[in-house]
């Protein structure tokens, strides 16, 4: 039977098994369809009930003197908003005008809340007519605060000047004392605030009339904001902040149960041993299970989304979310969200399977899953932060890229290239996670409780010695280092010290830590032999020759390419300035500092990581050329710039070729060092510029090197390539998988 039909058989059986499980059905169907609507509507109605209850209560205002009481009574009782016929949505000045003109009809009842949907009612609740007030006089001003705090008085009002009049010109000063921690005190104060607003408007109008001035006299400038976003876009932007996180949580919630059940659960029930008896490779078993977990995750997220969407839509919650603005839920974006669910579910199912695969029991698996959820939610939250854009390194940032993509789709930003990046990188990460899951799942100590302790899988001394890391291991380390590198670099850029010596020292430390120490540490821990894994063998003469060919020529070609590329992919001014700033300060120091930070450290660290650890790991299962191309491309992506992607990827491939053909990392280090070193020194007076000019090198006004130089450089690169290809292919002995018991 071929692999696909076998996986097909397995996932269909697992799906049947899972769907017959009542617990899965409850988590997947009952919770979203019954519980969420009930919860949302229930809490809304509770909120509404509470608001209208508070609205109907009578509040107590304390004043310090009897005349103030009388004045306040009058103000409250003549408040136009309290007059019959005033509607909730009527602006204050309109109310005043209508009341003045006697236009508020007696029979026009304010709209009752029970006619409106819960969402509308809740929204309207805060804008309804002011509550009733009971006014009390407290003689002792010192009592006021205590009375408000003990709740017997809701708000204190102190008039520090004579009451306002239409005839006067002064400002009356009213101070409202309230307890901000008490909702009743707040409501009483905001009600009074509204009343005084209307009083002030009315008095202002009368005073202006008296002085025969137009209203525009007191409004020299009127600023108004008009949004050009369509209501769909506004709705999308609101949903885009919430929905990605909901989707992630729902996908995980749906996938957790089957992920545990199909791995640790199967082990606990003793069916796993029976299954392993069948002539099926572990990878196929995991692949079949993975399909089911991803499906259930997607299904559960989709059901949740539909249910929440329906509740929001039918319950009128949309208006609440929009705070009364003009908002339309972008129905057109929904199919896209379902598409985004695929990478989401793929990513999380793979992760969950990997984690659950080495758990022996349900309980154990549950313990492992919690940290994973937290670890996933952090990068997910980063993605919904305002201002995050799906570009540059964020395109391939695990989890974060999916959240930003979901948000973008909601606001109608549709970038097919971005979708491809997200899908490709996510597939890669998920593939690596599934491979790890398969490796863990097949471990003897995991399979049989009596076959040694599970601890032995992760303890260093039980790793089998090998000559290269596993492919999945290498890919996962790349993904982890990529994320860490991005965030550390961002932190360094955010320090505001771009280009200073401290900044460069920081960059160098990050490079040494992530690209040198991390892979070396990982190799040491998994008992991978350092010399073969990092190709530390001394270089053959031919290798040095080829490296010299590349190192002396590629910088010219890179320069020429950059000029050519500028025509169709111009570098944003901001980025150019940043880059200049980064280099500018190094220009003031000795040329050796420049060589150290921009050539020596990168050449060593990056080559150790990419052409050492990552290349030997990928080569093991991918084969020579796919591994060289993948690692070369990854090298390009790691430079965090679409503008340098082509050049750095090609360089990465050439360096990879050097390492594979000459079985030594040193030619690549040399070529990398020369390429970067000559490039940075070529423009410096105290560097190589005089020497190069002496040789006749120069660039035209665009920065393009003179044609003979480009031709010569091309020929030299080609020579280096031919030297590499002259080396006969050697079969690399494949090593059995690590980790393994000894």
């Amino acid at each position: 039977m071929n692999r696909l039909s076998r996986i097909n058989t397995i996932w269909r059986k697992e799906l049947l098994d899972t769907l017959r499980d009542r617990r899965t059905l409850i988590a997947m169907i009952l919770v979203p369809i019954v519980l969420y609507p009930a919860m949302i509507l229930g809490s809304l109605q509770g909120f509404e009930l509470q608001v209208s209850k508070l609205q109907q209560e009578e509040y107590t205002v304390a004043v310090l003197a009897e005349p103030v009481r009388a004045w306040l009574r009058h103000v409250i009782d003549t408040d136009p908003a309290r007059q019959p016929g005033a509607t909730e949505d009527m602006p204050a000045e309109e109310l005043v005008e209508k009341a003045a003109a006697g236009e508020l009809a007696e029979d026009e009842e304010p709209e009752l809340t029970d006619k409106a949907s819960p969402g509308e009612a809740a929204q309207a609740g805060v804008r309804r007519a002011p509550p009733d007030y009971n006014i009390e006089v407290i003689k002792d001003p010192n009592q006021l605060a205590a009375r408000i705090l003990d709740g017997s008085v809701h708000v204190g009002l102190v008039l520090t000047s004579p009451p306002p009049t239409a005839d006067g010109t002064d400002t009356a000063e009213v101070v409202l004392y309230l307890d901000q921690t008490e909702i009743r005190s707040q409501m009483a104060a905001s009600g009074l605030d509204g009343i005084f607003q209307r009083v002030a408007d009315d008095l202002l109008r009368q005073r202006l009339k008296r002085e025969q001035l137009d209203e525009s006299f007191v409004i020299p400038v009127a600023v108004q904001q008009e949004t050009v976003a369509t209501p769909e876009r506004v709705g999308g932007s609101i949903l885009g902040q919430i929905v990605p996180l909901i989707l992630i949580v729902m996908t995980i919630t749906g996938a957790i149960y089957p992920a545990i059940d199909l791995t640790a659960g199967e082990r606990e029930r003793g069916t796993l041993e029976t299954l392993m008896v069948a002539p099926v490779p572990t990878v196929d078993l995991i692949a079949g299970k993975f399909v089911v977990v991803a499906l259930i995750g997607m299904l559960s997220a989709a059901l949740n989304l539909i249910s929440i969407g329906g509740t929001v839509y039918l319950g009128g919650l949309g208006q609440l979310l929009s705070r009364g603005g003009d908002v339309v839920i972008p129905i057109g974006a929904l199919p896209w969200v379902l598409v985004v669910l695929i990478p989401l579910a793929v990513m999380f199912s793979a992760l969950l399977l990997a984690v659950c695969s080495f758990a022996r029991s349900f309980k154990e698996a549950q313990n492992y899953v919690m940290p994973v959820m937290v670890a996933v939610l952090i990068p997910a939250t980063v993605g919904v932060l305002p201002g995050m854009r799906l570009e540059g390194p964020l395109l391939v940032m695990p989890v974060t890229n999916i959240t930003i993509l979901t948000r973008d789709l909601f606001t109608g930003r549709f970038d097919i290239v971005a979708i491809l990046w997200v899908t490709l990188s996510t597939t890669l990460y998920a593939g690596a996670a599934v491979a790890v899951a398969a490796k863990l799942f097949g471990q003897e100590a995991v399979l049989f409780a009596d076959s040694g302790s599970i601890k032995t899988i992760f303890q260093r001394r039980f790793f089998k010695r090998s000559d290269s890391p596993g492919t999945a291991q290498a890919l996962l380390l790349m993904a982890a280092v990529f994320s860490l590198n991005f965030f550390l670099q961002q932190a360094l850029l955010g320090g505001g010290e771009v280009g200073t010596l401290e900044y460069w020292l920081g960059i160098a430390s990050v490079l040494i830590l992530l690209f040198l120490l991390v892979p070396l540490g990982a190799a040491w821990y998994s008992r991978v032999r350092i010399t073969p894994a990092f190709s530390l063998r001394g270089p053959p003469l031919m290798g040095i020759l080829a490296a010299l060919c590349f190192g002396l020529s590629t910088w010219i070609l890179a320069q020429a390419w950059a000029v050519f590329q500028r025509d169709w992919l111009p570098m944003p001014l901001q980025m150019e300035q940043l880059f200049e700033l980064m280099v500018a300060r190094l220009n003031d120091t000795s040329p050796w500092a420049m060589v150290f930070f921009m050539a020596l450290v990168p050449a060593f660290c990056e080559e150790f990581f990419f052409r050492g650890y990552a290349l030997s790991g990928s080569r093991r299962t991918l084969g020579k050329w796919p591994a060289i191309l993948l690692v070369g491309f990854a090298f390009g992506v790691f430079h965090f710039s679409i503008h340098r992607l082509v050049v750095t990827s090609v360089l990465g491939v050439l360096f990879g070729l050097l390492v594979v053909q000459f079985r030594s990392i040193w030619p690549a280090v040399l070529a990398h060092l020369l390429n970067n070193g000559i490039f940075v020194l070529a423009t410096r007076e105290d560097g190589l510029r005089p020497a190069l000019e002496g040789l006749g090198y120069g660039v035209n006004d665009d920065g393009l090197p003179h044609t003979p130089w480009i031709i010569a450089a091309g020929a030299l690169t080609l020579a280096g390539f031919l030297l590499c290809m002259l080396v006969p292919d050697r079969r690399v002995a494949t090593v059995t998988d690590v980790p393994e018991e000894t």
Binding site: M1, K13, D21, E273, V277, P279, K455, T456, F462
Partner: protein
């Protein structure tokens, strides 16, 4: 045919020490033969059977099934073996019919042939009445018969049975033993591991006795009787192991 040579399995402990579960065990099982593997709990029987069936990799030593090394081609060997595991689990939410068809597909059996094979096994083992009930609702005996049918679904030439009658009532017990006998008579090589001494006495011509991971005796039952001068199997054990080993004595005479 099963050929086991110097089979050894060492498990690492987290504290760095090692436990030798199976220690240089060698034996052969011929087609048509029922070979009995006998020993107390923790003697290394199950570990040996798992290595023979390709579930565990031997630390050293070799297992050949019809001349194929298990370590080299585990998938091919698994096709030749019907392995009934000791704590055999069935998918509780599937029916025996579904479980059998699922495994038939994993062994590349076409749908029509699989249905026919399921009917045949259900006839032999008397499974028809509960073929379409969920496995979770079956009795121990019914589950065990389903498991045996599962092991035999691909009609393998070799049967490895780990405690096939554990916890069964007399009727189920007899049915299953008779069934195993007919399978051996049909030319299959059967490796039977059990606690039940009377079963070994009636079923097996040759037996191997495992104790502390070592095969301490391997012979025909009649020869063992002659060698020890004891008639009953339990007495033969005690004699071979040494009556001082009280734990073992308790185990086998229980």
């Amino acid at each position: 045919m099963i050929k086991v040579t110097d089979l050894t399995k060492v498990f690492p402990n987290p504290d760095g020490t090692e436990k030798t579960a199976v220690d240089h065990v060698s034996f052969e099982v011929q087609p048509g033969e029922i070979y009995g593997l006998l020993g107390p709990n923790g003697a290394g029987k199950t570990t040996s059977l798992r290595m023979i069936s390709g579930l565990l990799k031997p630390t050293t030593g070799k297992v050949h099934i019809d001349g194929i090394n298990v370590t080299d081609q585990p998938e091919n060997v698994k096709r030749q073996i019907g392995y009934l595991t000791a704590n055999t689990g069935l998918y509780a939410r599937l029916t025996p019919h579904e479980v059998l068809l699922y495994f038939a597909t994993l062994y590349d059996i076409q749908r029509a042939a699989a249905e026919q094979r399921v009917r045949q096994l259900a006839d032999w083992l008397g499974m028809h009445e509960y073929l379409n009930l969920r496995c979770g609702a079956l009795s121990t005996g019914q589950k065990q018969r389903t498991s045996i049918a599962r092991a035999l679904i691909a009609d393998p030439p070799i049967l490895v049975l780990d405690e096939p009658t554990l916890g069964l009532d007399v009727l189920s017990n007899r049915l299953i033993l008779e069934f195993i006998r007919t399978q051996a008579d049909a030319g299959k090589a059967v490796l039977l591991s059990t606690h039940a001494l009377d079963e070994i006495e009636t079923m097996c011509r040759r037996i191997g006795l495992i104790h502390n991971g070592r095969l301490i005796a391997e012979d025909e039952l009649t020869n063992l009787r002659t060698r020890t001068g004891k008639a009953r199997l339990s007495e033969i054990f005690l004699d071979l192991v040494g009556a001082t080993d009280s734990v073992f004595a308790e185990e086998v005479t229980r």
